[in-house]
């Protein structure tokens, strides 16, 4: 063992230090011969005879030296280096070919590495927490009443934590936080801040260590704890310029002093994991005692004990859930969670974060793999074209004694050199794409900010580069090495039969390329059509020409009623001032914007009617001001709220059409009484359904209360304008500041941007798959062009003869185009059939589009045929312009 290690080391040394060893062995062999000659002379031979005999006994000096070298060094590396040098020389000679090949490979490999990085980040790699596989997302199964039915009360949280034994610890955060929910003062103008309330042990459970200072304690989640905050790294850098002394300092949040106890590490990104596409500035402890009366607010995350399986935890949860109380003060609320469709569904946090993207990502991965395959087929084709011109070179090498294996190896090394160059360029390309993607904050994909080209991506690059080299290099290599020696060596170049065989192989390659491109195009087409359908969805409101801004207000008053009156007056004043601005058509307040967070309050019932158990569920609740319905561009039957619907007048509500149809089937809901939120409410209007929770999902039920009768959580001022909303940002903010000095410089967000963010994952995938399909189309057309163009060149003489015999230019052209189209058609038919099978696999990603959508199939195949036609037309035109005289004279 040691001896062979030692030998390997010596061989390596010998490999890198050839010259002195060669000199040494030369001297040694010379001295050997001298000894032999001397001995022969002593035996009485003549000097010539002595030398001759000595050389005979020695054997070949060159062979001995060669043997010596092979024994002491690394002969295969020597051969490899030789092949490598030769490859580089040939590729340098054929610059055009090398450039095209490397570019094609760079695109193929680059796209693959970029997509792999995304897949790896979102799907394959564990979440960026220690022992992340033990983290569990604890939530009820999906239901229709939005976030309120996806969360638990503070009491339920505490009981669950106490009664469960599967976890090291259970934590949670307040799920109803909207962006810019806090206001930072004392640093110039009031600044909007996004702060999330988390239970004291939140960071301990995730395993996040503070960059500076300390984390929260459990005591800070209870009673009258001193208000504290933890800053995210980015916010600390941005707002406080990385102030070293920030820990222990006090900052003013919503007018109250809060002590900064620490700064979180740069690697921790709450939004990336729990709320894709949003940023968080700081964290404050969620006060369980204060929130106890607020109902379902906590989203739970647990860390299982080592060795506990998800199934065990689920079994335990099924036992615990029936004992959970919504509020321990009301014994009748105990067990209410079990009624909600089985109560509790555990998933690993990883599955919660990225599970629903799995299929999209796999499709993306497959698409990009198809691109690489097309690129390889294209290169195979290019190499085969080159083979024709190099056949003489290889025939010569074979004649000089090169084995077939050696020639195949030589060609494979050329392929490897090409793919290595392509991989290096592609890696650069991928790194640029990945860096760009990582900074797309508005893209609602999880973990995107942690995206980077890592070791795994590098490994993947090497793997696909080598695989690609073998894919595109082996076949042309084998074909070239098997070329008929005699035929190739003959002066007239490759004979007709071998040329035709080459061409047949190339035709097969082109057909498969077209088929692959066809599959890609059809899939991209189906996704594109789905995306257009999604954009076409009637959301129930008009996102264009509308924008929203979060408004600060102070409705502190001794009684609920006084508070409502004060609030009404403030809102009415703001709306009248803002409506007076030029360009503003309508304005109104809402507490939760659609497609954002939402909540439900209990289950309203139409007065005097009974429904079977489970027929009704809680509609999503919105507290709005008069004017909001118009500002959002929603359609209303009946009347809007009025400022006169005050705290003392009759309680009124608006409901949406879906709810109305169930509450009063076949009747007009307007004017009826609904028992909601603890009292009789008159339905004054029915609003068309809006997509409140998701763009693509079922609109569900909604109920609207007036802000003068219910307490809103928040105030978003929505403005509809005749001009571009962005141009109003300045004047609206100025007006708000005039009315309230404390109004922070909150973001003026177009409603369209909210819709766009909701659609961004689909858009992202459509864009990428579309790009890949386009790339596939381009490569396939290049392939067609290459083959047809080459065959025209090969047949120049033949075409010349035919034209000399009277064939018209049009006829020649037609012949070439016919050949092109027949190749393309075979590919399209094959690709179409494969697509029919494969499109079923992406059915769940489609929206409003059948996987066999005839329009898409027709459009994509026609597109492909058209491109093929163009790719064939160029060489056809060249063929028709062949001058018979020139063609026949030159060989």
């Amino acid at each position: 063992m040691i001896d062979s290690l030692r030998q390997t080391w010596q061989r390596l040394r010998a490999f890198f230090g050839k010259a002195p060893l060669d000199r040494d062995v030369d001297a040694e062999m010379a001295s050997h011969l001298d000894f032999a000659i001397e001995e022969n002379l002593q035996r009485g031979m003549t000097p010539e005879e002595a030398r001759r005999q000595a050389l005979i006994r020695f054997g070949g000096v060159m062979q001995a030296k060669e043997q010596h070298r092979e024994t002491r060094g690394l002969p295969w590396v020597d051969v490899l280096m030789q092949d490598l040098r030769y490859s580089l020389r040939t590729l340098r000679k054929d610059r055009g070919f090398t450039l095209v090949a490397v570019l094609i490979l760079a695109l193929g490999i680059g796209a693959n590495v970029a997509v792999f990085s995304v897949v790896n980040t979102i799907l394959l790699r564990p979440l960026p927490f220690p022992q992340a596989q033990r983290l569990v997302w604890i939530a009820p199964p999906p239901q229709k009443c939005g976030l309120s039915c996806a969360t638990y009360s503070a009491d339920a949280y505490e009981e669950f934590k106490q009664q469960s034994h599967a976890y090291e610890d259970v934590t949670g955060y307040e799920a109803f936080t909207s962006p810019d929910n806090l206001r930072l003062t004392g640093h110039g103008e009031p600044q909007p801040v996004t702060g999330i309330e988390v239970i004291g042990n939140f960071f301990h459970v995730l395993g996040v260590e503070p960059e500076r200072g300390r984390l929260f304690t459990m005591d800070e989640s209870r009673g009258n704890a001193r208000p504290v905050a933890l800053l995210t790294y980015a916010y600390w850098k941005r707002q406080f310029a990385g102030d070293q002394t920030i820990v222990g300092e006090s900052i003013d949040l919503n007018g109250k002093p809060v002590t900064v106890v620490g700064v979180l590490p740069e690697s921790f990104d709450f939004g990336a994991v729990f709320s894709p596409g949003s940023k968080v500035d700081l964290f404050v402890p969620l006060n369980l005692d204060v929130e106890r009366s607020w109902g379902n607010i906590v989203t739970m995350v647990g860390r299982m004990k080592p060795g506990v399986a998800l199934g065990q935890a689920q079994a335990e949860a099924n036992m615990v859930v029936p004992h959970l109380c919504w509020s321990v003060k009301y014994p009748q609320s105990c067990g209410s969670y079990a009624g909600r469709d089985g109560g509790m569904e555990l998933r690993t946090l990883k599955d919660y974060v990225s599970g629903r993207l799995r299929r999209s990502l796999i499709v993306l991965w497959a698409a990009v793999g198809a691109i690489l395959l097309i690129a390889c087929v294209n290169l195979s084709n290019l190499l085969l074209a080159r083979a024709a011109s190099r056949s003489k070179e290889f025939a010569m090498r074979t004649a000089l004694g090169a084995t077939r294996g050696r020639i195949v190896r030589q060609l494979l090394i050329e392929s490897l050199v090409l793919s290595t160059a392509g991989a290096v360029l592609g890696l650069g390309f991928a790194a640029a794409v990945v860096a760009w993607l990582a900074h797309q904050g508005s893209l609602a994909l999880p973990l995107l900010s942690t995206l980077h080209v890592d070791g795994a991506a590098m490994g993947w690059t090497v793997l696909i580069a080598v695989t690609a080299a073998f894919l595109f290099g082996l076949m042309p290599g084998l074909r070239m090495a098997s070329g008929q020696l005699q035929e190739a060596l003959k002066d007239s170049g490759p004979g007709a039969s071998s040329a035709r065989r080459h061409e047949r192989v190339r035709a097969v390659l082109v057909v498969s390329e077209v088929a692959l491109a066809c599959v890609l195009l059809v899939c991209a087409g189906l996704l594109m059509r789905s995306f257009l359908k999604v954009l076409d969805i009637d959301l129930g409101f008009q996102p264009d020409h509308a924008a929203s801004i979060k408004v600060e207000y102070d409705d502190d008053a001794p009684t609920q009623e006084a508070s409502a009156l004060k609030r009404g007056a403030i809102f009415q004043q703001i709306i009248s001032r803002v409506s007076a601005l030029p360009g503003v058509e309508a304005a109104g307040f809402v507490d939760f914007l659609p497609l954002g967070r939402n909540r439900a309050w209990g289950t309203p019932v139409p007065k005097g009617k009974t429904f079977p158990e489970g027929a009704l569920h809680g509609p999503l609740v919105y507290v709005v001001s008069p004017g909001y319905i118009r500002a959002m561009g929603m359609r209303l039957k009946g009347r809007d709220f009025a400022w006169s619907d005050g705290p003392k007048s009759e309680r009124v509500v608006l409901i949406n059409a879906s709810a109305a149809r169930v509450y009063w089937p076949g009747e007009d809901a307007v004017g009826r009484i609904l028992v909601a939120s603890g009292g009789d409410c008159r339905v004054v209007g029915v609003v068309d359904d809006i997509h409140a929770d998701s763009v693509e999902g079922d609109p569900g039920w909604q109920i609207y209360y007036p802000i003068t009768q219910q307490n809103p959580d928040d105030a978003q001022l929505v403005i509809r304008s005749s001009v571009a909303p962005a141009s109003l940002a300045g004047s609206v903010l100025r007006t708000l500041r005039e009315l309230n000095r404390n109004q922070p410089a909150a973001e003026f967000r177009p409603i369209g941007a909210i819709v766009q963010r909701a659609n961004s994952p689909r858009q992202f995938f459509v864009l990428l798959v579309g790009c890949f399909a386009g790339l596939g189309l381009l490569l396939a057309s290049l392939g067609i062009y290459g083959v047809i163009s080459y065959s025209v060149t090969q047949q120049t003489k033949e075409i010349g003869i035919r034209m000399a015999l009277g064939a018209t230019a049009g006829r020649v052209q037609l012949g070439v185009i016919r050949r092109t189209l027949s190749l393309a058609l075979i590919g399209i038919v094959a690709g179409g059939l494969v697509s029919l099978g494969l499109s079923r696999l992406i059915a769940s990603l489609l929206f409003g589009t059948e996987p066999t959508d005839p329009t898409t199939f027709a459009a994509m195949t026609v597109l492909l045929a058209l491109v093929a036609f163009v790719a064939g037309y160029l060489p056809a035109r060249r063929a028709s312009r062949i001058d018979p005289l020139v063609a026949l004279r030159t060989n």
């Binding site: 061989r11 062995v25 000894f35 006994r57 054997g59 001995a64 043997q67």
Partner: protein, 117 residues
Amino acid sequence: MGESKLDLLQGTLDLMVLQTLAAMGAQHGYGIARRIEQVSGDEVLLNQGTIYASLVRLQQRGWISAKWGTSENNRKAKFYEITRRGRKQLADDAAYWQRLAGVMGRVLAMDKQGGDR
């Protein structure tokens, strides 16, 4: 050429070289080659040049050492000497060969009737 000479089995040359060096002490390549020829009674087919591949292999494994010196007739030559590890290796290899030769001898000596012995 008359009766053909014995082809050297893989690895046998290395053993011969080791044994020669063990028996003769420090020796140069030519000396080793001549000695092997003499001992074998010119029965092995040995191109003297091939001995150098064997020498470099043994040297790389650390079983022999080499240094340039001067021969008794005042000629510069590279002298090889067996190392301690080389001697141990030689003992192992020689034992192996003797066992193998013994077995081969017995196997080849058996006649038809004695086949089941």
